[in-house]
Point group: C2
Chain length 196, copies 2
């Protein structure tokens, strides 16, 4: 890895942590440069614009997400086990991940849901992919006979998402300690009600 890519990755890592707490649009190139210990212009040269920096931060988060959430789950056996793994990895990502400010995607979603442009578009496409992944995992669980045939797998994906959203909201804003247990309990109920 060349020197350029090396610092570029270091920048993105710092930016990721910062964006998860203060938000993607509150990222400041000056602050970021100070954090990684280099000049504004030196940092800027790695990205042609701030918007591009934000996009790269998101892309980097997606790559990380695939590594720690999606890929390990796909190595689990088809069916309920894989669904469980997807949820658990996702859950861990949303809580004790390297991101100090919680899930960047959820934060970015409510930040950019009304701001048209490439960032919003990228968010939409990745969220669509993720929902499709969840839905397909549920469909496989139906095929494997773990879940009932009448299960609406899109609704299942939607319900899984609800659990994470609520957990994120309550644990991060209200710091309610029971959020975790509540989320896990709701998840078990959802699995139970989906069984064959």
């Amino acid at each position: 890895m060349s020197k350029g890519e090396q610092t570029r990755e270091a920048i993105l890592e710092t930016a990721l942590a910062s964006a998860s707490t203060v938000g993607l649009s509150a990222l400041s190139i000056g602050d970021l440069a100070r954090s990684v210990g280099m000049s504004k212009s030196g940092l800027f040269a790695h990205f042609e614009s701030k918007e591009n920096l934000q996009l790269e931060v998101l892309r980097s988060a997606v790559a990380h997400y695939i590594d720690v959430v999606v890929a390990p789950a796909l190595r689990k056996p088809r069916g309920e086990a894989r669904v469980r793994s997807l949820f658990e990895n996702w859950f861990d990502w949303s809580s004790k991940s390297t991101l100090p400010g919680g899930c960047l995607f959820i934060a970015a979603a409510s930040e950019f849901d009304d701001q048209p442009g490439p960032i919003r578009e990228y968010l939409v496409s990745t969220q669509r992919d993720w929902l499709a992944t969840l839905s397909q995992a549920a469909r496989i669980a139906v095929e494997e006979g773990h879940f009932r045939r009448s299960l609406d797998t899109d609704q299942f994906a939607h319900d899984l998402y609800s659990i994470i959203l609520a957990f994120h909201h309550f644990s991060r804003l209200l710091r309610i300690p029971s959020s975790r247990k509540r989320a896990l309990r709701t998840f078990e109920q959802l699995i139970e009600s989906s069984r064959a």
Copy 2:
């Protein structure tokens, strides 16, 4: 109402709409002044600081929320009817309310969940109040014999919130038209499973 209060309310109204789309921290005093057609300093004089302006915007939103969501529901008969009314008014507020950018509280929650200070504190206290209101409405429904005695009313409030959060997320970011139906369906299921 004096001239001062009059323009102050006009400012807050404009700020409310703006904050719901671009976020509370992206509120700019200069932009705001241009929108309402007055000078920066003239506008600034109404609030001692930007943080105070943000707080006043939130307070104004809470007042509006109580008017159109909470108060009408409290006039409904105790029990399931009131719970339904709370949810429906809340639902309308989150979708077709005067706020063009969706529910300001949800947006502000994920914006400030990692930023300590009076804004976060205010958000936390109002959200706590709202959860308590939901929980109490459910408790009354239990007393009235509409809901089963074994119902965990805190969990009920939590589940109600999940529905709104998911609806907000999917309808605003992904613009999925079925979000509305899905939310309403989930709500009916929740009511059904809570019945005596």
